[in-house]
Every structure is written in structure tokens, then in C-alpha cells.
Subunit: 505 residues, 2 copies
């Protein structure tokens, strides 16, 4: 194919078209070239983290980047341009200075795993069409349960499309365990059921409460200490209060690594109360579960082996590409019992292989994306020990940040003492606010500092870090480290950048 | 790097490691080489669809393929071997003779889109970290709503992790529309609510009924005609019956393209009843929605513009790689109202851009995988017209199959008349069963034919097609065509193969 003819070709000349093999290979290699260039630049600190534009700018079309869909096909050449533009105006979440989310970094092995997964393009719901992936999932879940500390790695589990859905599974399974008739008869078959979770916990417990028919009024928020950890006495008081009202306390969520403070609830004390009052204990370790891989840090989750279910997102602290979240359940059979509908047209009992490997009926999904392979491959490539090193390194970096700013002029920590996870929460005070006594005006001005610095950061594209208010605390920065590319120099850069952008506010 | 040293290297020498760029590029190109070889072979009819092994065989480790995870890292060389083995023992869902699922085929543009998506490795929940993808999703959903026929493409929607979750959204949103207080107070705030769906519909409506607290008893199954289409008179009778019992009919699911028969429920007649009785109308077009792209076939969904919500999975009939499912809602604001929790730490109102583009609070998920890009890119590459051609071609192929076997010796159609979708349902009768009068013994023997043929097919690895019983009908084959690689010769091959394997049963 002469070059000019080739790239003006349409996609219909690619495989499965006749003689489509050569153009297909040429096209894919061109795409890979775009991707590898992107990867190269992502790890290069002289590249910006993002090239910010407002929604209306992108919608109007910048330099010919047209997002609108049309009736007629585009040439392959234009498709490649679209790919380049998509990456150009996106955010480099693998950049060493991207600290904005709990999920960050770009693991090369995980990436290769994801490329393979999309090439295999199959579905987890039966062994028939995903034999290798189904077994990988089973073995990996068992390994995770062993690490949680359940004897022999016994129990059950499934990979779900994210921590919120994993937490939703935990509530469903708890309800099924105590009130199996709800599956058939609905919530009216049960008394008024109460779920408990801390005011610092992830909003997905409330979302689950709303979706599953409990009602958010019946999701009781527990008080936390100044470090964001639940106060067990408050839990017990609220359990007793609920019982006095005639309600039935069903479920407690203990957070292992809260979103903002990175706090770990005292699982053992909560477990004692769950035993005392016969309640389901779920541990939301979406963010903190990764610390189980570290002999140095896993004590922060001590008691997790007493949980009835655990959410653990390898796509957060363990650096696995999105999406990769596991819900683990200690008692076997509950997931299946809770969700199965035995649709004969999907799960034929008379197949030639052992159909207990068909996992589809455990899920609330039917088709289910293959989330396991990238994780399995990373585990092979790093070993358990590699994950441990990664986690220890991230925690060291956040300790470095904490030590650097705790007594630095212009910084105030949101809570005192060393962070439990990699979350470091702080206010930056521009010189104009320093020395001003605490008063409504100061609070109001301080509230605007982080958003302004963030906006300037994004416009200059140099780094990204999150901010938010929490309870009665005005906007503060929440720094997190999960990116394997980050080093001390990037932490230093972040601080310099905050000071550069914020000094005149 | 000398070759032998290089491949015995560990992944920790890849980026972001110092001097990691060269080994990273070398490693990724090696992976791409494995993948492109796989793709080449997938489209080559002399390659098997699968190389079947039982679970215990794979678990024991075949030719050194070890699925177990260990503490110590593997070499890059071994990682590449793992990748090859994973593909070797998997199923080629893009093979021209893979007909096993509603999702099949391997679209090269979609694949490139997925490779890019995983390289970008971001999350849909805010514009901040996925500016381009968020806008693509918005524009594509609008286009889909226009195609559904809602004036000006108005309304709302979101991509979810599959049709079952999309259907679950529809039930949640319907409940929120009629009984918004359930979000706060739980199901006890509503009367006994009834959901209706046909006995041929997808089991996800029942799963949603169980999960969301309605109870499967309150999911009433409607009778179908012999073609698998719901009988509207049965719906009305059951609505009246429910009302007489004091229950409240809330929601009707009309299936557009049922899983087994490919039947399209009469949407207009159902819509009339929904209007008459003030109920929510959902159309589950997970499988049949794609036909909206074809001027020739879209009449099968006529009335869909009267629906309150629609599920439509581009990952099925439109050949988009898994996962890609949309839930469309006609009334704006409901999705947000139903699901939002306004977590200040996730969705800061004081950002520098228009935060109405932050879609996270509409979802039951928090992090959400980028499912849009591959679909958007395919639409760019094919145009609306390209999807239309693909759909028409698949329906022509199934018509070819239907015409070929309807009067062929040894075949019996499960229902009479031309299929509405690409589903062709049939029994193959081995010579030993032909001419035998209908009796329990014949039924019992016929029930075992499809599973036996399927088992032999999988063991010989030549092709794959699904089978199942339905109601009182014993196991039959369900052929579906969504694979763009399939041609008439592959249909011929399937029939020959069934006869070759089944003749002596």
C-alpha cells in the first residue's frame, strides 16, 4: 500500500476484510507508536501533567479536534489524529507529579495485562468462555483471603466494577445472611434494619443504603476522633439507641483507610461489638487493603480476620490499572445464595466440565469484564514482595512530606501526628493569612486558598493534588501517594509549586 | 542490553525505574508482537476457536503454565511466556466461527480504542481527570437518545458496567420518580410495588428486584406468545390483579431482543398500558438496541421513543469490545436525584470549571472505568452508516441460516417463522431420532443431543454455539450472529460440524 493511499483508507479494509492483515498490522503498530510515545512522555518530568481546557473550549473543537459523531466514516489517518488528540487533552495519571486520586501511576506490566485482556475480549461469567481468567480469579481471591487471615483462605469473593459496588455487595450479603426472605419478599419481610458507618467513611455505604431499599435515614453515621477513626463507644451507644427504638442493627462498616484522612478504624473493638450484638462486620479496605501486603504496616488492619466481608481495591494502593476491586466474603455460599436466579439459558448444568467454575450467578452483573488478568500478571512480575516494597516506599514518601511540612512556615496540619496511610492533610497559608487570629474572615479566606491554587496548578499543568472541606474544616489539601513514579524530588516540587502559586493570595 | 540479560531482568527495571525507557519499549513491543500474532490467528479459519482443557488440568499446570502466585518476582521472559500461555488456553471470541455469545468479534478500531483507554488509565467520575472522555460520553449519549427518538436527544444517561446494572438503574430511577422518599426512608415508605417483565426476559430484572428490596415475588413474569413476545393482554390482566390485591404496579420492562429467541415485545401496546395505569416503561434493548442503527430493522423497536428508560449495550450487536452498556433516561435530573449523596470530598463545587460536567454523583459507582472511548472511536471510524451495514449483514446471515435449515432433514425449528433478530433456535435430530414419534423417551434423548454435540465441538475446538432449554422445550441450539468476521461459509461450516459430530448420537 502506498503511504498516502493507505492512511486515507477506511476501517472497513482492516481485518476481517479480505487482505486485511497487512493494513491491520500497520494500523495497530501506528497506534502502539502513539501509545509508547505517550508513555515515554508520561514518565518525563519536563512534560506537563495536563493541558487544561474548559468544557466549552473542547466542545467547540480545538485545532480541529472534533468530538461530534457523524454518519460517514473517517479515514484511518483521521482516527490516528483523534487518538493523538484524545491523549493530548487528557490528564497523565501516571505522571510522577499526579497526586490527585487514590488511583495513580501507570504500571507497565499492568498495562500490558490490560492490552492483552482487551485483545482476548471475553467475559468472566462462565468457564466455557474464560477458562484461564476464571481460574486466575479463583486463585487470586484465595490468596487475598489468606492474606486477610481467614483460615486456609476459605470463603468466597468476586471482582466487581469498583469499591462502591463491592461495598454494595457486602450490604446485600449481610442482609441475605440474616434475612434471606428479603430476596423473595422484599424489605417488608424484615424489621427496620440499621447500617452503621463512620462520618469519615466512603459515601458508597449510603448509596448502597439508598439503592438496596434501607433508606439513608437508616444508615447511621458514627462519630470519629480527631484523626478520623470511629469511636467505638459511639457505635455502641447508637446500637443501643436503635434497639430501644425497636430497630434491628444489622451491619457495621469499618473503614480501613478513609478517603480523606487515610484513617483506620479500630477493627478489633468494632468486631467485639459486632459479636456482642450479632451484627455483620464489613471492612472497607478499598484504599487501605493494600497495606495488608506490608509486614510493617499491616498491623493497622489488625482484626480484619474477624470481618465477615472485606472490600479491597488493587486498583488503588497496589497500582493496578482501573478497574480492579474485590469483595471477599468469609462464609462460602452466601454470594451465590444471595444473587443466584438459576437462569437455565445462561448456566447449563449439563456441560462437559465442572460447572461449579461458572461464577456468573454469584454476581449482580451478567456479562463481567475481565479485571483479574492485569492484577495476576503484576503479582507474577513483582511477587508478593514487590507489592510490599511498593507500599513501604509510598508510606515513606508521605512520611517525608509530613516531616517536611509539619513545622514549616505557612503550613498547618489538619490533624496532629503521623498519618496512618499516605494521606497528608494540610492547609497552606499564604503570607497574607499568617499570624491572623482564627476568625470567620480568616476561615472564609482560607477556604478559598486551596481551590485557587488548584485552579492555577491545573492551568499551568505542572502537578495535581486534591482538596476538599471535611466537616467544619475549610478546604485543605489532601496529598496521597500511590504512584510508583513519585520520588522525594516530586514531593519537594509539589511544595515549591504550592508556595509559588499561593504566595500572593 | 544483551538479549539474555535483558529477558532475565525483573519488572522493576522498567519505567519508572532509572534508564527504564529502553527496556520498557522493548518489553511492550514484545507484548504487542504476541498480541498481533494472536489477532492474525484469530481471523485465520485454520486456527482452532479454542484448545479445551478441564479446570483440574489447567490447575495442575500444563506444559509449565503455572497459575499460582508466589512471593518472589518472575523474570520478564517468564511474564511473556505467561502472556502467550494465557492466550493459548483461552477462547478466541473474535474467531469467525465463534457464535457462542451475544458479544463476539474483535473490532480492530475498538481494540485500538481499548489499548488507548488502558494507557490513559483514568476514571470517569470528574471532568477534572477525564475531560475528553466525559465530553465524549455526553455527546455519544445524546446521539443515542436522538436515535431512540427523544426530541432533541434530551434526557440523561450513563455508561454502566453491563446490561444487568443498566437494568438495575432503570428500576432504581423508576422507584425514585414515583416514590422519592424511598431514598431516605427505605422501602417501608412505599406500598407493595410490582415490577413486570416477560418470562423470556433477561434475569437481571429479577436480580434487580431482589437486590433493590422489592423481592422476586413482586417481579411478575408475563406470558409470551410462541415467538417469545409478551402478550399485552396478560400484562393488563396482571396489572388489574395486582391492583385488586392492593399492590401498586410500578414498572414494566419490555424486552427488545430477548436473549434466547431474539424476540421484540410490542412496545407500543405496552406503552399504552403504562400510560393507562401510570407506570414506568423501560425497554431492555441490551441485545436489540443495535437494530435502531438500521433503517431496515429499527421498526422492530417501534414505540421505543415512548419509553422512560432504555438499556442499550453497544458491546453486543454493535461489536464494541466488552464492557460498553448505556442506560438512557428520558427525564433529566432523575439519575442525579436518585443517586447523589453530594460528598463534598469528591465533588467540590468551587472548582474553576463548570462542575455540571462532573458525572460521578449520578452513578452508583464511585470510580468508573472509561467505557466510552472505544465506542466513540468506532463510531468515528465507521460512521452511523457503518454500524447500519454491520447490523444488516448480521441479520442477512441469520436469515441465510434460517432458510438453509428450516426445511432441511434432521432440523426442527423451535418457533416458526423468520427470526426477528439474529437468533435462530433449532433442534438437530440425529438420524436415530428422526421419525420417532413425540414421546417422553424422544424428548429425553433429544435433550441430551445439544450438550453432547457442544462438548465434542469444544473438544475439537472447531466452532462454538450456545444451547439451552426454555420453558418446557428441551435443549436446543441458539445460534446468534454479531461477529463481523462471520460469512456464509462459516454458517455452512457450523451446520456441517453439527451433522458430523451428531450423526451417530
Amino acid at each position: 500500500f502506498p503511504f498516502c493511499t493507505f492512511w486515507s483508507m477506511l476501517s472497513l479494509y482492516l481485518l476481517p476484510a479480505k487482505n486485511g492483515e497487512e493494513p491491520t498490522m500497520q494500523f495497530l503498530l501506528e497506534v502502539v507508536d502513539i501509545l509508547t510515545n505517550y508513555i515515554r512522555k508520561t514518565f518525563d518530568r519536563s512534560t506537563k501533567v495536563l493541558d487544561f481546557h474548559h468544557p466549552h473550549q473542547l466542545l467547540e473543537g480545538i485545532e480541529g479536534f472534533n468530538l461530534e459523531l457523524s454518519d460517514q466514516p473517517e479515514s484511518l489517518e483521521q482516527i490516528l489524529v483523534d487518538c493523538r488528540d484524545t491523549l493530548k487533552y487528557g490528564v497523565r495519571t501516571g505522571h510522577p507529579r499526579f497526586f490527585n486520586q487514590l488511583s495513580s501511576g501507570l504500571d507497565i506490566i499492568g498495562l500490558a495485562g490490560e492490552w492483552l485482556t482487551s485483545t482476548a475480549n471475553t467475559n468472566m461469567f462462565t468457564y466455557e468462555i474464560a477458562p484461564v481468567f476464571v481460574l486466575m480469579e479463583q486463585l487470586t481471591l484465595k490468596k487475598m483471603r489468606e492474606i486477610v487471615g481467614w483460615p486456609g483462605g476459605e470463603g468466597d469473593g468476586i471482582f466487581s466494577p469498583g469499591g462502591a459496588i463491592s461495598n454494595m455487595y457486602s450490604v446485600m450479603v449481610a442482609r441475605y445472611k440474616y434475612y434471606p426472605e428479603v430476596k423473595t419478599k422484599g424489605m417488608s419481610a424484615a424489621p427496620r434494619l440499621i447500617l452503621f458507618t463512620s462520618e469519615h467513611s466512603h459515601y458508597s455505604i449510603k448509596k448502597a443504603g439508598a439503592a438496596l431499599g434501607f433508606g439513608v435515614e437508616n444508615v447511621i453515621l458514627l462519630k470519629c476522633d480527631e484523626r478520623g477513626r470511629v469511636i467505638p463507644a459511639d457505635l455502641e451507644a447508637k446500637i443501643i439507641d436503635a434497639k430501644q427504638k425497636g430497630y434491628v442493627p444489622l451491619f457495621v462498616n469499618a473503614t480501613a483507610g478513609s478517603t480523606v484522612y487515610g484513617a483506620f478504624d479500630p477493627i478489633n473493638e468494632i468486631a467485639d461489638l459486632c459479636e456482642k450484638y450479632n451484627m455483620w462486620l464489613h471492612v472497607d479496605g478499598a484504599w487501605g487493603g493494600g497495606l495488608l501486603m506490608s509486614r510493617k504496616h499491616r498491623h493497622k488492619l489488625s482484626g480484619i480476620e474477624r470481618a465477615n466481608s472485606v472490600t479491597w481495591n488493587p486498583h488503588k494502593m497496589m497500582g493496578v490499572p482501573l478497574q480492579c476491586s474485590a469483595i471477599l466474603v468469609r462464609e462460602k455460599g452466601l454470594l451465590q445464595g444471595c444473587n443466584q436466579m438459576c437462569a437455565g439459558y445462561l448456566f447449563q448444568p449439563d456441560k462437559q466440565y465442572d460447572v461449579t467454575y461458572d461464577t456468573g450467578d454469584k454476581a449482580i452483573q451478567c456479562g463481567r469484564h475481565v479485571d483479574i488478568f492485569k492484577f495476576w500478571l503484576m503479582w507474577k512480575a513483582k511477587g508478593t514482595s514487590g507489592f510490599e516494597q511498593h507500599i513501604n516506599k509510598c508510606l515513606e514518601l508521605s512520611e517525608y512530606l509530613y516531616t517536611k511540612i509539619k513545622n514549616r512556615e505557612g503550613y498547618e496540619m489538619v490533624f496532629q501526628g503521623e498519618p496512618q496511610h499516605t494521606n497528608v492533610c494540610f492547609w497552606y497559608l499564604p503570607p497574607s493569612l499568617r499570624g491572623m487570629p482564627d476568625c470567620p474572615e480568616r476561615r472564609e479566606r482560607l477556604h478559598k486558598v486551596a481551590p485557587k491554587i488548584k485552579a492555577m496548578m491545573m492551568e499551568s499543568g505542572t502537578t495535581m493534588v486534591g482538596y476538599q472541606p471535611q466537616g467544619d474544616k475549610v478546604n485543605f489539601f489532601r496529598m496521597v501517594v500511590s504512584n510508583p513514579a513519585a520520588t522525594k524530588s516530586d514531593i519537594d516540587f509539589l511544595i515549591e509549586e504550592i508556595e509559588r502559586l499561593g504566595q500572593d493570595l
